[in-house]
Amino acid sequence: MQNEEQALEDGKFEAVTSPVSAFDVWANFGDDNTMQEESVVQAEEGKKVPFVGDKEPLSTLAAEYESGSPILLEKIKVLDKQYSAIRRTRGDGNCFFRSFMFSYLEHILQCQDLAEVERIKMNVEECRKTLQKLGYPDLTFEDFFALFLEQLEDVIQGKETSLSHDELVFRSRDQSISDYVVMFFRFVTSGEIQKRSEFFEPFILGLTNSTVEQFCKSSVEPMGEESDHVHIIALSDALGIPIRVMYLDRSSCDTGGVSVNHHDFIPAAGDLPRTSCGSEASSPFITLLYRPGHYDILYPK
């Protein structure tokens, strides 16, 4: 499980703090302590990293740790053998969903796998039914579903509305689209967790002291809430999409020789998408790089 307390490398990515609760006083209302000021800081942070960055060679990752931990530098060398590029996402608590969004849509755009598009649409319809059965009024989620399906249609080429790769990047940086798609994934994730609450309950109890429903209301549905393994498992299962996560942290194994831990999240059931339009069969086509508190996108060689 992700350790939110873990110190962040070089302070580059800010962990989103857990929600404050159960305090007797709300306190701290001096003029220096307004939300307004906080959002100014966030806005400045935002200018540095767009929601979805440009594709950068993996060497930029090594440069970031130049004078950092030797273990990390060794691990980056290992990554460098398998991966050619990284695409960063903004550290705003939505980075897992945002990385997933871009990576998936980019895959469809590049592979034009129409069978996969039909497959995921069926899963999306299942997710819609799940939310309805859980008692969510349609009006709360339908706009988010419609916006995702629209993006999915638009990455299919040969239509008037078809997106080029540049346009996909542009849309992923447009808050009015990007945040809606992120929220679509949050709905899907929340629905899946609640539908299979007996499966997810033990994981959730390990993270917080709350019920499954409370967890979804406080840690899945609000924008900016960071994702943990629970979120990844649920999203991967609900949409039927395998996800590989490479872990860049300071952990090392005793057996000598540095390796980079990874985990493949393989959906529980149903038809899996064909692997990829290129290279290696059998590995997930979405690969994310995890550093404590943050996810970016990795590109295999």
Binding site: V20, S21, W26, M223
Partner: protein, 162 residues
């Protein structure tokens, strides 16, 4: 005027306006028990009459809630959800009408609606065992005299027992 108050005057986006229209229709078909929406032609500001639930400290009392919506509702929480004067006497409601309730601020999500906010507020009223202001009422209200909206406060939420 703070910049945030200025933002409150920005017109609703198309998507926000559509969503609120849908919420309004749903409200008319299926209003939350204990609430009456006062119909106006202003979609961006709802004034709602609340009646305390029977068998609670607020039984038969009526209050007015005002809900203002931002340009990017529901991605953003309502600009403010406040009680108009006089606000109910409650340990989490300040005399200026501001309400200390996490879903209105940090825990907001687009999965919520005006109707679900109302239900949470009524449940907060119903579970109260004492009619009194928050301990820090005077200090807080004095601090808000410049017209600050409750969204700009960094809230530390009271326990959820009340």
């Amino acid at each position: 005027m703070t910049s945030s108050s200025a933002a409150a005057r920005k017109a609703l986006s198309k998507i926000a306006s559509n969503r609120l229209q849908k919420e309004l229709v749903e409200w008319q078909v299926n209003p939350p028990a204990g609430f009456k929406h006062k119909v106006t032609d202003n979609l961006q500001r709802w004034v709602i009459e609340v009646t305390g639930a029977p068998g609670t400290l607020y039984a038969n009392e009526t209050y007015q809630l005002q809900v203002d919506f931002p340009e990017h509702y529901p991605m953003e929480a309502p600009q403010q959800v406040i009680f108009l004067h006089p606000a109910p006497l409650h340990p989490h409601i300040y005399s200026n009408g501001h309400i200390c309730l996490d879903i209105l601020y940090d825990s907001w999500s687009p999965a919520m609606t005006v109707s679900s906010i109302c239900i949470s507020i009524l449940s907060m009223l119903s579970s109260s065992t004492v009619k009194q202001r928050p301990e820090d009422n005077d200090r807080y209200v004095k601090n808000c005299r410049n017209g600050r909206s409750p969204k700009e406060t960094r809230w530390w939420f009271h326990d959820d027992k009340v």
